[in-house]
């Protein structure tokens, strides 16, 4: 018998394999009688580099081993696949992917637009923490799979007097032209609201404090970029500090850059990424796409996948990767979450364009 097990022999081999987690929620009779025809492959959108490597190792490869369905990764950016998916659904074409790995904010837009399949019948949802449930949406049009923090990442050599403790430390004249933010300001708005003397409860109605602080930061001539830029800029010595998600800082550190990160007193934005399945798939492919998402919620899959990313998952009992125990970018306990700012995805998507326009208006000036 070759290494490739059929599903049936695998089931006979015992439910102790990780396959058990995938299938356990389904009544056995239904499984054997009605399991829809398997497609040759499914396509999962993922971010490139270490992101897709982690997904492949933790979720895709085991899924293939278990079901015999190959997984192909589409590396189109999340916001670039969005119009493709929307156009496909609007034109009643088959979408170009089966599963979308997406930011919760972006996914919420797709959910509101009604292009996502309902995932609330996934069997493994019952084992997840409340983090898996999207805030402000009915049911599970998307499933959150892990959280992440927009930390203040910095080069220790640029801060000889110790780690920065406040976002206001970025206003130090020494750092002029040496700091970086996301080019839409994402991750920075909420801490800026606090740093500018405002209240989080005033979001989204009164954010003048945030814009005041952004204007002060503008005088520091920050660089504005996207995920890969931060890693490149730290590598090439262009910047000393940045508001970026911890994974980018971790990647630069793995490449040998001396980097550290912290959660300043004003707090950091906490957000989630998730998986969802677009509408318009044939019945059988939809079934297997949902099984992929279901499998991604097992403890085994989460442990390997998220070790690769260095991020906290949505099932209890995961072991933090080495070096990230008690790290501020890996929150697990309620105390860890005290300094983290979480705003519902719905409030975010409904106001994001305005925040974005305001941020641009200040920065492009």
């Amino acid at each position: 018998m070759s290494k490739k097990l059929t599903r049936r022999t695998m089931l006979q081999a015992g439910m102790a394999t990780s396959g058990a987690a995938l299938l356990s929620g389904l009544p056995a009779s239904r499984l054997f009688a009605q399991e829809p025809e398997k497609p040759k492959e499914i396509i999962v959108r993922a971010w490139g580099g270490e992101w897709v490597e982690a997904l492949k190792k933790g979720v895709s490869d085991p899924f293939t081993a278990m079901t015999g369905i190959a997984v192909r990764h589409d590396l189109t950016e999340d916001n670039e696949i969005q119009p493709k998916l929307w156009a496909a659904v609007a034109q009643k074409r088959m979408p170009p992917i089966h599963v979308n790995w997406d930011t919760t904010t972006n996914a919420t837009k797709s959910a509101l637009r009604g292009v996502t399949e309902d995932l609330s019948d996934l069997s493994n949802l019952k084992n997840t923490t409340e983090l898996a449930k999207p805030v402000g949406l009915d049911g599970y049009p998307i499933v959150n799979t892990y959280g992440y923090v927009y930390v203040l990442a910095y080069r220790p050599e640029a801060f000889p007097d110790g780690a920065p403790t406040s976002w206001k430390d970025l206003l130090n004249p020494k750092l002029k032209g040496r700091i970086a933010l996301y080019n839409d300001g994402i991750g920075f708005h909420f801490p800026a609201q606090v740093a500018g003397g405002g209240k989080l409860s005033d979001i989204p109605d009164n954010m003048e404090a945030c814009w005041d602080f952004v204007r002060q930061i503008k005088a520091q001539e920050p660089l504005l970029g996207e995920d890969p830029d931060f890693t490149n800029w730290f590598q090439n010595g262009e910047i000393d500090a940045a508001c970026t998600i911890s994974t980018n800082a971790l990647a630069a550190k793995k490449n040998g850059i001396d980097l550290a990160w912290t959660v300043p007193v004003e707090g950091c934005k906490f957000d989630t990424d998730g998986l969802w399945v677009p509408k318009g798939l044939p019945e059988n492919e939809l079934y297997w796409a949902k099984q992929y998402v279901n499998f991604a919620l097992t403890k085994e899959a989460q442990q390997v996948w998220l070790d690769g990313l260095g991020l906290p998952g949505v099932v209890p009992g995961l072991t933090p990767p080495a070096g990230l125990e008690a790290d501020p970018s890996y929150p697990t306990t309620p105390e860890d979450f005290e300094h983290l700012i979480r705003i519902s995805a719905k409030v975010q998507v409904q106001n994001e364009s305005d925040w974005f326009a305001r941020f641009k208006e200040i920065m492009q000036g």
């Binding site: 969005q82 119009p83 797709s110 509101l112 637009r113 009604g114 504005l224 970029g225 364009s353």
Partner: protein, 317 residues
């Protein structure tokens, strides 16, 4: 065709007969009296091909008339001009549009400044190997693509890059050479230079060298013979190159995105943001249509002032 009874097995070569057949077929399908429409017939495939873009523009025009409903992320039912109103009232977009126009103009100026001598040397050099080397230097960057080339520029001009290393040797710097407006223009010039040279070279080839020699033997120094003899004769090439360089830099996306450090957006970047970041296709479409209008007006002005140069077309006879 007459058949000679003594030579009945004589046949014209196959090629001739095929050609005759083709000519006769053409006479049936497209008789000579249609002659004055032949130009249009030849142009038709190109018009149709570009027509695909016009269909796309039509779709965009439609969606620019709907605003985005942020509760459903669907376009509104009713038609409205409010996307255009949003652009009109926004200081940011005005700034970005103005920056794009300035960027395009500077890029045209610097590109021509470099491309003209390059094309001139290319055409005039008597040595074949020099010409080949120049052509290779021109063609190789094409094969690398814009994004990787921009990345190369990031490394060369970076704070710890090659240029700053040279500055370090003479004891100055390091300077921040990237992430500002000049860096974007530099990237665009680097990107456009080969196009411009390729457009200028044929125009320069058609200027007989004797004309220049004559001018200088009449006592003109080289600057004056350039200005009064070469430049006017090369005008079609210069105009053609300007049109191409201007329109391509006006709509460029990659260079401002990679070399501008996020604060030097051109219109294409603003359009990208609307389409891909805030999912507002209506506003993105409105911006795109404005950019097309702006570009077309600029093209019309240049053609009106100087003719269409080597792009065009139809000026002779």
């Amino acid at each position: 065709m007459t058949t000679d009874p003594d030579n009945s097995d004589f046949r014209y070569p196959l090629r001739w007969r095929l050609m005759d057949g083709a000519e006769r077929l053409l006479e049936i399908v497209w008789p000579r009296r249609f002659g004055r429409f032949t130009g249009w017939l030849l142009l038709l495939p190109a018009l149709l091909l570009v027509g695909i873009l016009v269909l796309g523009l039509w779709q965009m025009a439609e969606s620019s008339l709907h605003v985005l409903d942020r509760n459903t992320f669907l376009p509104s039912e009713e038609y409205t001009l409010s996307n255009y109103g949003t652009i009109w009232q926004s200081a940011t977009y005005f700034k970005v549009i103005w920056r794009s126009v300035q960027g395009a103009v500077w890029t045209v100026v610097f590109t021509l400044l470099l491309a003209f001598p390059f094309a001139y040397v290319l055409v005039r050099t008597p040595r074949a190997w020099v010409r080949k080397l120049l052509l290779i230097a021109l063609f190789l960057p094409f094969f690398i693509g814009q994004v990787v080339r921009a990345y190369g520029i990031l490394i060369v001009l970076g704070t710890s890059g090659a240029v700053n290393d040279v500055f370090g040797l003479i004891g100055v710097g390091p300077y921040r050479l990237l992430f500002n407006f000049p860096a974007v223009v530099f990237g665009l010039v680097q990107y456009m230079l080969p196009f411009a040279v390729l457009m200028l070279a044929p125009a320069l080839t058609s200027i007989p060298q004797e004309t220049e020699t004559a001018a200088s033997s009449l006592g003109a120094n080289w600057l004056r013979s350039m200005r009064h003899v070469v430049l006017p004769m090369a005008k079609p090439g210069i105009v053609g190159a300007s049109l191409v360089v201007m329109t391509l830099s006006l709509t460029d996306f990659a260079m401002p995105a990679m070399l501008g450090g996020g604060s030097q957006d051109f219109i294409a970047n603003a359009i990208y943001d609307q389409f891909f970041r805030t999912a507002d296709q209506g506003l993105g479409s409105a911006l795109a249509l404005l950019l097309v209008a702006l570009g077309s007006v600029l093209v019309a002005v240049i053609i009106g002032l100087f003719g269409a140069g080597t792009l065009g077309m139809g000026e002779k006879k």
